[in-house]
């Protein structure tokens, strides 16, 4: 969904909560969010496998999918069909846990007509042996 993309424009990023005293962690998390976006755009499952925890839960278009299901879909999808713009996000860290709240706009072209939908998301990252990994992600469509 969100990352089949193509243009990424990070307009601004704010960090607060404990992140204000740990800008390095917030920067690392933002970099991982970007890796996710780029990895999905390139159908790079190997890169995504590294940043997704094996127990990842992802709510995609209202459906609960596992890491395996998500990666299978990414692998099968063509690139360049959708366009995503990542908008402002905040990163809050709580020790070994980081919460990212942000929004993105997703445009589709269906039968020659472009539609735009904005989503607001929460991603949860946990620091494990190999570094930060994504353990949960979910988004809700912003009411028009």
């Amino acid at each position: 969904m969100r990352f089949a993309l193509i243009a990424v424009s990070v307009l601004s990023v704010a960090a607060w909560g404990q992140a204000s005293s740990d800008p390095g962690t917030a920067a690392a998390i933002r970099a991982l969010e970007k890796q996710w976006t780029v990895g999905q755009a390139r159908n790079d499952n190997r890169a995504l496998d590294m940043i997704f925890d094996n127990g990842l839960v992802y709510v995609e278009y209202g459906r609960l999918v596992s890491k395996g299901e998500y990666l299978s879909r990414i692998k099968a999808q063509p690139t360049n069909l959708d366009q995503i713009s990542i908008e402002p996000m905040t990163v809050r860290t709580f020790g070994n846990t980081a919460i990212v709240v942000g929004s993105y706009s997703e445009s589709h072209i269906h039968r020659g007509k472009r539609t735009l939908q904005q989503w607001r998301f929460v991603d949860t990252w946990v620091y494990k042996q190999k570094g930060w990994v994504l353990v949960a992600a979910a988004a809700a469509p912003v009411a028009k």
Binding site: V59, G62, R63, L64, T97, W119, V122, T124, P141
Partner: protein
């Protein structure tokens, strides 16, 4: 012989470590499940704001069904503005990642706000955190189910 004994001891230690981890996760799952039931089954429909205040971290953030981001204060104010709320959950699952737990499930809610009826059904994803031995909900997303 000595090598065999070492391997056996190592295997035994690994097994007991795995068992201890499993027991820990199971304990945490029960505690987080209890927290979620307290919040979603009792406090939400019952309008128990004291319990809600204690269960939600001060930094709590909700991404609502309508895609709005709300702070703890805003969520509590929004709940106080309801005339009534009926709330049901199902398919709740807790996944433990050390001191973090992810809770997924489905919900159905209906009620009255300002005399007008409303109804929603969808999925929720909560992030819970162990804060000095006390589990708190630090983030939540509600989204329409497909």
């Amino acid at each position: 012989m000595n090598k065999f004994v070492l391997v056996a001891v190592a295997a035994s230690l690994a097994f007991s470590q795995a068992s201890a981890q499993s027991a820990y996760d199971s304990e945490i799952q029960s505690r987080v499940m209890a927290l979620e039931r307290l919040v979603r089954v009792q406090a939400l429909p019952g309008g128990d704001f004291k319990t809600l205040d204690a269960a939600l971290a001060d930094e709590f953030v909700l991404v609502s069904f309508e895609g709005r981001s709300q702070s703890k204060t805003e969520v509590l104010a929004s709940l106080r503005s309801l005339d009534s709320l009926h709330y049901v959950i199902q398919d709740m699952v807790v996944r433990v990642h050390g001191d973090t737990a992810i809770v997924t499930g489905r919900f159905q809610m209906s009620g009255l706000r300002g005399g007008k009826p409303f109804a929603r059904q969808g999925r929720f994803v909560d992030t819970c955190l162990n804060s000095d031995g006390r589990w708190l909900i630090i983030a939540s997303v509600s989204t329409p189910a497909s």
